[in-house]
């Protein structure tokens, strides 16, 4: 039996109400209300935790007076330029690891080990050599972003289906044509996974170092609020960084899904 448009609408509304997204928002709302209640009753200490309502008010203040918007753009510009540079190094390096067997065998294991290594701890070294400026933050972003890009590019080229390459050979394609028309398009989805990880690593490390050296964009705002003992402002800045992380993650995953049609 077919449903009427009204039934369709009510079914869609019910599906929305019971969707995980709505439930997640509801959980967030309930947690916020519970925290407000705890603070109002004195069970939680306002010098340690900010009330969600105060935090949201502070968010507006941070945008108006503490240039949170500009700080975001500064961090974004650093993360994007670091990722661009990481791509300029990582993509050809990943290709070289694939193309030259000796290089691949010699360095792939090392790169994988570096991927797991706490490279961010090297920032005092760059602080000494480059100074307390954007050079240090961007260099750290490049270093941490370059490794997944190179590794995933190499993996992506290795994973290209041999059948596709045989088809190319059957069409008498030259090595350059095979690379341009078959290997590059087939490697795009996995290479993008590397670029996505590279961008996230660069962003995370740049914000972290900004916080540590009180310099730059979003990380500096958190540090400044902490040292001013502006608790609602500090929580608002942290909340904003979490939102930015969520936004980045969602956009990049959508692009990745679009590049990988099943």
């Amino acid at each position: 039996m077919s449903m009427t448009p009204a039934e369709h609408r009510s079914k869609a509304f019910l599906a929305f109400i019971w969707s995980p997204t709505t439930a997640a928002l509801l959980v967030l709302l309930l947690l916020g209300l519970a925290l407000e209640g705890l603070l109002a009753s004195g069970l939680a200490d306002r010098s340690i935790v900010a009330a969600p309502s105060e935090m949201l008010q502070s968010l507006g203040r941070l945008f108006a007076r503490d240039e949170l918007g500009i700080s975001f753009l500064i961090t974004l510009a650093q993360a994007l330029s670091a990722t661009l540079m990481a791509m300029l190094i990582g993509l050809p390096f990943g290709y070289a690891l694939f193309r030259y067997e000796l290089l691949g065998r010699a360095y792939r294991g090392w790169l994988a080990a570096m991927f797991a290594a706490p490279l961010v701890l090297l920032y005092p070294l760059f602080l000494v050599v480059i100074g307390r400026n954007y050079g240090t933050t961007i260099t750290m972003g490049v270093m941490t972003g370059m490794i997944p890009i190179a590794l995933y590019t190499c993996e992506a080229l290795h994973k290209v289906s041999p059948t596709l390459l045989k088809v190319g050979a059957a069409f008498n394609l030259t090595v350059k044509q095979r690379f341009r028309l078959i290997q590059v398009p087939a490697a795009v989805p996995d290479t993008f996974t590397g670029i996505r990880l590279g961008l996230i690593y660069a962003l995370v490390n740049i914000i972290g170092i900004e916080f540590l050296i009180d310099f730059g964009g979003l990380g500096r705002v958190v540090s400044t609020m902490f040292f001013r003992y502006d608790i609602p402002g500090m929580y608002a800045a942290i909340f904003f960084i979490i939102l930015i992380s969520l936004l980045f993650l969602t956009i990049l995953k959508r692009v990745e899904r679009w590049l990988r049609p099943v």
Binding site: L28, R105, L121, P124, G208, S223
Partner: protein, 256 residues
């Protein structure tokens, strides 16, 4: 499955590249250190770094700071593992709950944990407790996400068999879920340990009164650069040993 044998000639060439690379890097370092391109002392010679390294490992003060960092690390990692596994299984065994929690966990997992340092400091002060808390927070997400994904992937037939046999919740956990989750938990622990190390050391660098991170930044502030490099070497060697140990455990127990 036997791995394809590598031609001994290629193996020799690979080894040559792997030996030559650090040699070239050290020569490059030495050249920069002696060239006068950078301010004096910014890049000390390798000999100065070796001397500083030796003086560090001969000093009892290092082991005091080392001990504090290790204590913070194991404290944070144990808390992260217990909470991560419990939350991961609790969410993974309820698919709707896992879909509700996923955006929170994923976005928090990709947020730089060091920005939570002020929060844990307000709660626990600047001592080791706040570093343990920060380490636990950092390690929790990879462990919880990996365990949750593993729990969601437990074969439904096993869960149904458990239900048919009327197993209690505890029995379901110990007889059905945990045996299937060894691989995901160990993989999560491996990732978690790495980020716990980073969070604890960065916390020590930012605001602390003890630990290897504190020592490194103290040397930086007093411009004892060779000593700072030697502490960084000690930190990386420690991370390398921890990673190797986790790799061994992973290979030994993760059969998936």
């Amino acid at each position: 499955m036997a791995q394809a044998r590598i031609d001994p000639k290629i193996r020799r060439q690979v080894l040559t590249i792997q030996v030559l690379t650090p040699v070239v890097l050290i020569i490059l370092w030495e050249f920069i250190a002696r060239s006068g391109l950078l301010y004096e002392g910014v890049v000390p010679t390798t000999l100065e770094v070796v001397r500083a390294f030796w003086s560090e490992i001969s000093s009892p003060a290092l082991y005091h700071h080392y001990g504090i960092t290790l204590m913070e690390l194991f404290g944070g990692f144990i808390v992260a593992t217990i909470t991560g596994v419990v939350v991961g299984i609790a969410l993974g065994s309820r698919p709707f709950a896992s879909r509700v929690a996923d955006p929170f966990l994923s976005s928090l997992a990709t947020t730089p944990k060091i920005i939570f340092l002020p929060v844990v400091m307000l709660m626990f002060g600047i001592g080791p407790e706040s570093k343990v808390a920060l380490g636990a927070l950092a390690g929790f997400f990879p462990i919880a996400l990996s365990t949750m994904a593993g729990t969601l992937g437990v074969r439904p037939v096993l869960v149904n068999v458990g239900k048919v046999l009327n197993l209690s919740r505890w029995q379901m956990l110990t007889k059905i879920y945990l045996p299937s989750l060894v691989g995901p938990i160990i993989r999560g622990m491996r990732l978690g340990l790495g980020v716990t190390v980073i969070a604890i050391l960065l916390g020590e660098i930012k605001l602390s009164n003890a630990g290897l991170g504190f020592l490194a930044i103290e040397y930086y502030n007093s411009f004892h650069i060779a000593n700072m490099y030697s502490i960084l070497i000690i930190i990386f060697l420690t991370a390398l040993i921890i990673n190797a140990a986790m790799s061994y455990i992973s290979q030994r127990f993760d059969r998936s």
